[in-house]
């Protein structure tokens, strides 16, 4: 079986366009506080979601928009929720980190690691009520150090729960390089917890799709959980307006107020000179890593998939235009909702 290249592209493209609209609304001040994008993860989400059917469940982390979009949740409902409108998916009560769609058995949580237990519970319910249905957990590599997630992998394996644990590894948790705080390796860890485990390039939707197919087959057959590790890059950093990216993108404005105190701190007493030098080195490294994420357009999962399409340019344009329209319609509806707000 082969993936449908166009269908996957469509999904990824839609998520990307949707998030671009979200970025605009956020920039305009219509969306409050933290907004974590799925941008850069589209191939992972598309490759996994393509195997999801009704009755399957989704446990989503703070980057829930791509899965929700690709699961077919109404875009206007999502936007209105992000904007805190009564007409939103959760009547404006949950917001972008706390999205819920009972019809799709899709639930998100802002607590890092919470998608592990959540997916297990969905899978337990499936074992009782929806045989051969599965649950998917999405989380980052940083979440793999949260105890409840590790507990959940073991629970799923011990109970042969139909769970697919999808670890989206961008190498970074907020500002921390996961390599610095994660020991051992995640595949071994997952195997030590009893899960079948594979690693793929998460910017290649075909690779993800194939690995995910195996995972879904296994899970639907009652063979227990799979740990699917997929690498990716977040070109928008941790969330919109990421302070590190602001410094990288606009060093003059953003660093001005910070450099003075930093130099002062680093040069007046404290630890040994060498320790202070190490600190400055890792601060530079942190900014360097942030800068790196800006160069990864060659790894852009959507570009990659676009190159692979075997349809004519006209057909592709049409596909894209249809998506653009859908997104624009949703934005218009959301903005109307905003105006109608008392």
């Amino acid at each position: 079986m082969q993936p449908n290249a166009e269908g996957l592209y469509r999904q990824m493209y839609k998520s990307r366009r949707f998030e671009e609209a979200v970025t605009q609304l956020w920039n305009d001040g219509h969306i409050s506080a933290e907004m974590h994008l799925s941008k850069g993860e589209e191939a992972i989400v598309a490759g996994v979601l393509d195997h999801v059917m009704d009755g399957d469940a989704l446990a989503l982390d703070h980057r829930a928009s791509a899965p929700m979009v690709m699961r077919g949740i109404d875009l206007a409902l999502l936007l209105k929720e992000f904007m805190g409108l009564e007409g939103g998916l959760c009547r404006g009560m949950g917001g972008h980190i706390h999205l819920f769609s009972p019809e799709h058995l899709a639930a998100s949580s802002g607590i890092v690691g919470a998608t592990g237990p959540a997916a297990c519970g969905f899978a337990i319910a499936a074992q009782h009520l929806r045989p051969d249905k599965v649950a998917v957990a999405f989380f980052g590599e940083g979440a793999m150090n949260q105890g409840m997630l590790m507990e959940s992998i073991n629970l799923a394996a011990a109970w042969s729960l139909p769970v697919i644990f999808v670890c989206k590894d961008n190498g970074t948790a907020v500002t921390t390089s996961s390599a610095d705080v994660t020991a051992g390796d995640l595949l071994t860890r997952a195997r030590g917890l009893g899960a079948h485990a594979v690693s793929v390039d998460g910017t290649d939707v075909d690779e993800v799709w194939s690995a995910a197919r195996d995972a879904f087959v296994r899970a639907r057959e009652g063979k227990g959980p799979m740990f699917l590790h997929a690498t990716c890059v977040h070109p928008e950093g941790h969330f919109l307006g990421d302070p590190l990216l602001r410094m990288v993108r606009n060093p003059v404005r953003e660093l001005r107020s910070k450099v003075g105190p930093l130099i002062k701190a680093a040069t007046t007493g404290g630890s040994s000179l060498s320790e202070r030098a190490v600190s400055l080195g890792s601060i530079a490294g942190m900014l360097g890593r942030a800068r790196e994420t800006q160069k990864h357009t060659r790894d852009d999962p959507i570009e990659r998939q676009r190159q692979r399409l075997e349809i004519s340019d006209a057909q592709r344009d049409e596909l894209e235009r249809a998506v653009d329209d859908e997104v624009q319609t949703a934005v218009a509806a959301a903005l109307r909702g905003l105006e109608a707000q008392p």
């Binding site: 058995l105 519970g121 337990i124 009782h128 649950a135 409840m148 959940s152």
Partner: protein, 337 residues
């Protein structure tokens, strides 16, 4: 007339609920042994022993409930919920609001609680006020077999998360396993009427949120729950000998609180004595004070609670927990104020 033990009543109610509704499932540590009869009857899929992974399985209970089951998930002792409480505080309790009222988690968290058998401060807490503090949680604390069975049914039927707390002094199997453990040379102050009592012929749900007036009295109102209810009744008897007439209310539910019943009684007696095995500060006793004041009742008020980490030594433990002499003393002071 049918009588049952406290634990027997809960088992019986669960037996009924599980027979009536295939969505009711139990999981938790050692349930194959702790719920052996249910395990034998309903099999491992419905009574499922877990790893020692409270965060995983309590969290799983929330979404299992969201996806159609009615889990009764067990935390062996409520003290241990501290390792997993995110699942209640940040997930289950907030779901209804977060989802704009569109999704609920009908789950029961069953946990043993309480002291009086010398197990130390990390194994004898009640923590009901702690759990009640988070909006979205319901917390029930039965004091006798009939209430235990009826409240268990309501907890299972409820559309949201309900914490069902079972005091170890009332549940014979906990005393057998943790306190006597085959010995016959130790004594425990087990309230007889709490550990065994009349139950209805067939179980009916007892509404969550209704307190019960157990004894009328004009001089002061004692408000209590769980084992302490029985201490209050005993104290009321003693007080009666010296001409003090104390009413006793069994809250049965910590949250939602039966504000009306409490205020009605306090309005009459103008004196409120809270007797609570939970911690004294920032908990149930304070909330009761607030309720009374909010109702415009400037009643005289005192509380007999647990003031600090519970001592291991049984003599000091007995002093730390609400006991009859402490209650009598506090009541006597209160009526003389």
């Amino acid at each position: 007339m049918k009588t049952m033990t406290f634990a027997g009543a809960i088992e019986d109610a669960l037996m009924k609920a599980m027979s009536d509704d295939p969505r009711v499932v139990i999981f938790g540590e050692d349930v194959q042994a702790l719920r052996m009869n249910l395990y034998a009857k309903f099999g491992e899929m419905r009574v499922r022993p877990t790893p020692i992974s409270e965060s995983a399985f309590l969290g799983a209970a929330v979404t299992a409930a969201m996806a159609g089951l009615r889990p009764v998930v067990e935390i062996m002792m409520i003290d241990f919920v501290a390792v997993a409480i995110d699942a209640l505080v940040n997930q289950a309790a907030k779901l209804e609001v977060f989802s704009g009222g569109r999704w609920k988690a009908p789950m029961v968290v069953r946990a043993s609680c309480g002291g009086g058998y010398g197990d130390g401060g990390q194994h004898e807490q009640t923590l009901w006020g702690w759990l009640a503090q988070v909006p979205g949680m319901k917390v029930v604390v039965p004091s006798n077999p009939a209430d235990a069975g009826g409240l268990m049914l309501s907890a299972i039927e409820d559309e949201g998360p309900v914490l069902f707390m079972e005091h170890k002094l009332l549940a014979d199997y906990w005393i057998d396993a943790l306190a006597n453990a085959g010995r016959i040379n130790l004594e425990y102050d087990i309230p007889e009427a709490g550990a065994r009592g009349e139950v209805p012929k067939t179980w009916e749900p007892i509404p969550i949120g209704e307190a019960k007036m157990l004894r009328d009295g004009d001089d002061l109102t004692m408000v209590s729950l769980g084992v302490s209810v029985h201490r209050c009744l005993q104290a009321a008897e003693e007080l009666a000998k010296s001409g003090v007439h104390a009413g006793v209310i069994d809250l049965r539910t910590v949250t939602p609180l039966d504000t009306d019943a409490i205020c009605r009684a306090v309005e009459k007696t103008d004196r409120l004595l809270v007797v609570d095995e939970d911690y004294k500060h920032f908990s149930l006793s304070g909330e009761l004070a607030a309720i009374v004041l909010e109702a415009g009742l400037g009643a005289k008020f005192a509380r007999v609670c647990v003031e600090d980490t519970i001592p291991f030594d049984r003599r000091r433990e007995a002093q730390a927990l609400p006991n009859v002499p402490r209650i009598v003393e506090a009541a006597t002071k209160l009526v003389s104020r």
